[in-house]
């Protein structure tokens, strides 16, 4: 077994797992199981980023999505105690067909833009140190300083606004 087939097998297992868990998110009736599938999906995607030399991106994915956002998701789902969605079953109507059609069109559009440039690559790989934290930090605090600060202020305004909305008395 050469290194290339090994890598391909590893990628196949990760990507297959990620795709299967993505299907699980919509296939399960139970909201908690769907959320767990989403967690698994995010985690496997993070490992995929690792294999592509984008360590910082992968770790950020785990910290932000798996570790924080999905925990809050689960928290809310458990707090509302959502069971299987019996009530939400709808009869067949035209909306479903239209949704599938739109989905196929969207997939085709996005795919036609993304796939052709990737056709030539067999093993895409960034140079070593491309996604290292010091490179990303340097880029963020020199080249993209203004957008970074703008996003920071936006988030701060968002937090203050949500506190104002949520608290009756300050």
């Amino acid at each position: 077994m050469t290194a290339e087939t090994g890598n391909l097998l590893f990628f196949g297992a990760l990507a297959g797992g990620a795709a299967a868990s993505a299907v699980g998110v919509v296939a399960f009736n139970n909201a908690v199981r769907s959320a767990i599938c989403l967690v698994a999906n995010f985690f496997l995607l993070a490992i995929l980023y690792f294999t592509l030399n984008a360590e910082t991106l992968g770790i950020t994915q785990v910290v932000v999505y798996t570790g924080a956002i999905m925990v809050l998701f689960l928290f809310v789902i458990m707090l509302l105690n959502l069971g299987a969605a019996h009530v939400l079953h709808e009869k067949f109507d035209w909306k479903r067909g239209a949704g599938i059609a739109f989905g196929v069109v969207l997939f085709g559009l996005v795919g036609s833009q993304i796939l052709p440039p990737l056709m030539g690559f067999t093993q895409p790989r960034a140079p070593d140190g491309y996604g290292s934290p010091d490179n990303i930090g340097r880029a963020l605090f020199t080249q993209y300083l203004v957008p970074l600060e703008a996003v920071a202020y936006l988030l701060l305004v968002g937090i203050v606004g949500s506190v104002l909305l949520a608290k009756r008395r300050i």
Partner: protein, 446 residues
Amino acid sequence: MVAWVESLHPIWQALIRVLLLVLPVLLMVPGAIWYERRLLGWFQDRIGPNRVGNITVSRRNRFAPDFLKGRKFNLFGLIQPIADGIKLFIKEDLMPAKADRLIFVAAPALALFPAFTLGATIPWGPIQALTPVADVNVGLLYILAISSLGVYGVVLSGYASNNKYSLLGGLRSSAQLISYELGMGLALGSIVLAVGSLKMTDMVRAQEGPLWGFVGPLANWHLFTPYGFLAAIIFFICMVAETNRAPFDLPEAENELVAGYHTEYSSMKFAVFFMGEYAAMLVYGGIFMTVFAGGWHLVPIRWDWIAEQAPPLAYLAGGFATWDYWLAPLTMIAKCVLVLTVYIWLRATLPRLRYDQLMALGWKSLMPLAVANLILVAAWILVERLTGNPFYGFLFLLVGVGLVVLFYRQFRSVLRGPGSDLPRREVELVNYAKPASSETSEGVPA
């Protein structure tokens, strides 16, 4: 041996490194449980488990050789955890009828997973071929990421048990872990800023420099720098909260929630939760020591500097440095046990926090302090670069940290909001014989 390991295929090398991390932690867990029970017994003025494994060979035993007859062997109860393990193995494994079966079984495994993967970037010694498992350039972020996964085991076990107490335990735990992760990340952030790297081996290397930048013979352990001291205290409190230990063990508060998230778990599933908790405590000890207290070095003394400055002592200093180098794994284990001791000490000393106190401590005390510390470290780096003299930088830091702590003490009640500092009420004991008058005169409230 190191050369032999380096000659192997990378997959075998990785496997060896993983085993060198996981096996010692796994083997230390029963020891840690025994240690906690003995130490708690000592704190509470009782004996603790000291009987299991004491063997007395009878004088009339026909099968024992002569020199063993009538001898007593005392193992100080060290076999107690193994006896507990056997007991848990042969207990009935119950599962509630309406539990979510798949998640109920998966939750203990999810609780154990972060405890063992957490240590993958900690160097347990100086030899790069054997430790850490992966010296990635996002080492500290990796630890934060994996520690944030610790919630899932608790939350999912709480949900899957289909029990109100378990669910409440899980909810409490998720709120607690999210709250304390912030303080933890910010406390570590100040150290990252000072070191200039996220690599754990770089953390250890940065702490080999001279103390405060100008004291030659002592090493610059972050615990002894003003900003590092503050960060270490914040990190330690957050660490105790992250491992769900007393006084932050609200997810399993016995008086309110039976046993919290593991109420419905029995037999080996419960044992797995237990194991995960102790493994996490040990590994967090390793993280604390690596980031704040010099990693695998035993004492904060720079032997190479001494050898350079005082040639007569060179032989002695060289000897100490060699010992320091080869005893590194033992030093690390001893340091982990030291942190474990503080964990147990806290458990024996402090009562459990109320829920609002927990939230107030995390959000209104630790986070502002950590943010102030972060800003201070950034300013210190600026001052040191402008003046080019580490002594002025140290003075600035000393004054800065002093001001931050003073400010915090002065405005603590404002930070925490009204009603946080309740007046102390005297408790009247029922059926309590009043102490003799000589004692009451010494300030004991009558």
